[in-house]
């Protein structure tokens, strides 16, 4: 238990782990949806502290990773144009497009800027009326209220030089796609805490019922994850499949009503392609008709984009929890954070990056390797 001292409260961590070890009598496989949770799990070795019979399958909840290649290539194309200021969150800079990334576009003279908040991009638009300012609006439900409010303000302020390149994704349809896959091994979900801070938990009971899976809303910190796992294991052992909130300090059942109203006002549900996974029906948001003028895909003609994924990259299988990152032949050899083949290797939430950062050395010929293999097999 070499990692446990890093926990905020090592005694509590120990008690939670003892409870899990005492409760788990059979093999169970649960998916943590969120990439932030994946990083926390791998960084703190939570998967290795759990009983061998309790497997954590890493989910697709890395917004940077699932943003489709076509949208990345459109972003690169728009960002390269003269007269454009292209604003993005920092973690998009090195996501590989077909032949380059935003970092490279900037080096080639594109005006790419990193912002902390989409409202900063709005500010840039106000100060640069002669430039077209585009914000790369990606993310899960957590980020949607911010992007929605930004477009709402742009329209209210009549900012004609601002637009949003949108690639928003939603968790519940992804859970359906995962559960409907014939090879699915997932028996329970740790739902992403901050997604539920916005959305609440009302979308989940019907999923838990239909697929007979426990869904436990879980935070991001190591102790939060242990508590989520503890509750999932308890439900699985009892044959239950309920929605539980293990992150009540940040999540209310009704979510954030103001944020939900703004999402409803600005976005509409649409089909969405997920990089490496494919199109999932009704799994995204696009700008509603009334806000279409602020859609960068309409404002800029970017129809000539030709995409080509790496033939070696297996990030799609990683994102669906079908393989662990270090089972990919390219992992740590041709694919590293310096020369990433897929987005999962560059994002601070991508599973491949987590394994590279925290598991690369341990996963060599060391004892961790056979253990890892047996969990997967």
């Amino acid at each position: 238990m070499k990692y446990i001292q890093e926990f905020n409260d090592p005694d509590l961590a120990r008690r939670l782990l003892e409870d899990i070890h005492a409760t788990a009598t059979r093999p169970w496989a649960m998916m943590e949806v969120c990439g932030g949770q994946t990083h926390s799990i791998i960084r703190h070795g939570i998967d290795q502290l759990l009983p061998d019979t309790v497997e954590l399958i890493h989910g697709p909840g890395c917004p940077v990773c699932v943003t489709p290649l076509e949208v990345i290539d459109k972003a690169l194309e728009i960002a390269s144009r003269p007269g454009v200021v292209f604003c993005s969150f920092g973690d998009m800079l090195r996501v590989p497009g077909t032949d380059r990334d935003l970092f490279r576009v900037r080096g080639e003279g594109g005006d790419v800027r990193v912002v902390y908040s989409p409202l900063d991009a709005l500010d840039i638009a106000r100060r640069n009326p002669d430039r077209q300012v585009v914000f790369f609006g990606i993310g899960f439900e957590t980020t949607a209220p911010a992007n929605a409010m930004t477009v709402h303000q742009a329209r209210r302020q009549g900012l004609r030089n601002f637009s949003l390149l949108v690639s928003h994704v939603r968790v519940p349809p992804a859970i359906e796609a995962i559960m409907d896959a014939p090879e699915c091994r997932v028996q329970a979900f740790l739902a992403a805490g901050h997604v539920c801070s916005v959305m609440g938990t009302t979308e989940y009971p019907s999923l838990a019922e239909r697929y007979r899976v426990p869904i436990v809303v879980t935070g991001f910190e190591p102790l939060d994850i242990l508590e989520g796992v503890r509750r999932v294991v308890r439900q699985l052992e009892r044959g239950e499949h309920r929605v539980e909130n293990a992150y009540p300090r940040a999540v209310r059942a009704e979510g954030n009503p103001g944020a939900l109203r703004m999402i409803e006002e600005v976005f509409e549900v649409s089909d969405r392609a997920w990089r490496g996974i494919g199109t999932i029906p009704r799994s995204g948001w696009r700008l509603a008709e009334a806000y279409r003028d602020f859609d960068a895909e309409y404002r800029f003609d970017v129809t000539g984009v030709r995409t080509r994924e790496s033939a070696l990259c297996r990030s799609g299988e990683v994102l669906q929890g079908l393989i662990k990152p270090n089972e990919c032949e390219a992992f740590g050899t041709t694919c590293t954070p310096r020369t990433p083949l897929g987005a999962t290797m560059v994002s601070s939430e991508g599973a491949c990056a987590a394994y590279y950062l925290y598991r690369r050395l341990a996963a060599a010929p060391a004892p961790a390797a056979p253990e890892e293999a047996s969990i997967v097999g």
Partner: protein
């Protein structure tokens, strides 16, 4: 990217029809929109994602999270110079040479 960081509301003001606040994230001050948590008051803690407060949070939890995030280097990831980090990962020079902050837009 779905990380939401707790911070303390230091001051509030109306701007362009929105309720904005200065929020202190363990020493880093940022401008944050409070429209989604209209009940938040100065001195209280909120959890913030990309410049928007999403929920209120009790002080004890907030402090514990901030301590943890600081220890794990997550504050640097959230508020540091993304170009510097990207350059380091890519093994390339910073696009602006040494003056990293030039491209990190700051809200006023």
């Amino acid at each position: 990217m779905c990380l939401a960081v707790p911070g303390k509301v230091v001051s509030t003001e109306e701007r362009d029809g929105a309720r904005m606040a200065q929020v202190d994230f363990g020493g880093v001050l940022k401008t944050v929109c409070l429209d989604y948590v209209p009940e938040a008051r100065e001195g209280e803690y909120v959890i913030v994602h990309v410049g928007f407060a999403l929920q209120r949070l009790d002080e004890e939890s907030a402090r514990a999270s901030l301590d943890l995030f600081a220890r794990l280097g997550l504050m640097e990831e959230e508020f540091g110079d993304a170009w510097e980090r990207a350059a380091e990962e890519a093994g390339m020079p910073h696009p602006d040479g040494d003056t990293g902050d030039a491209t990190q837009e700051v809200v006023r």
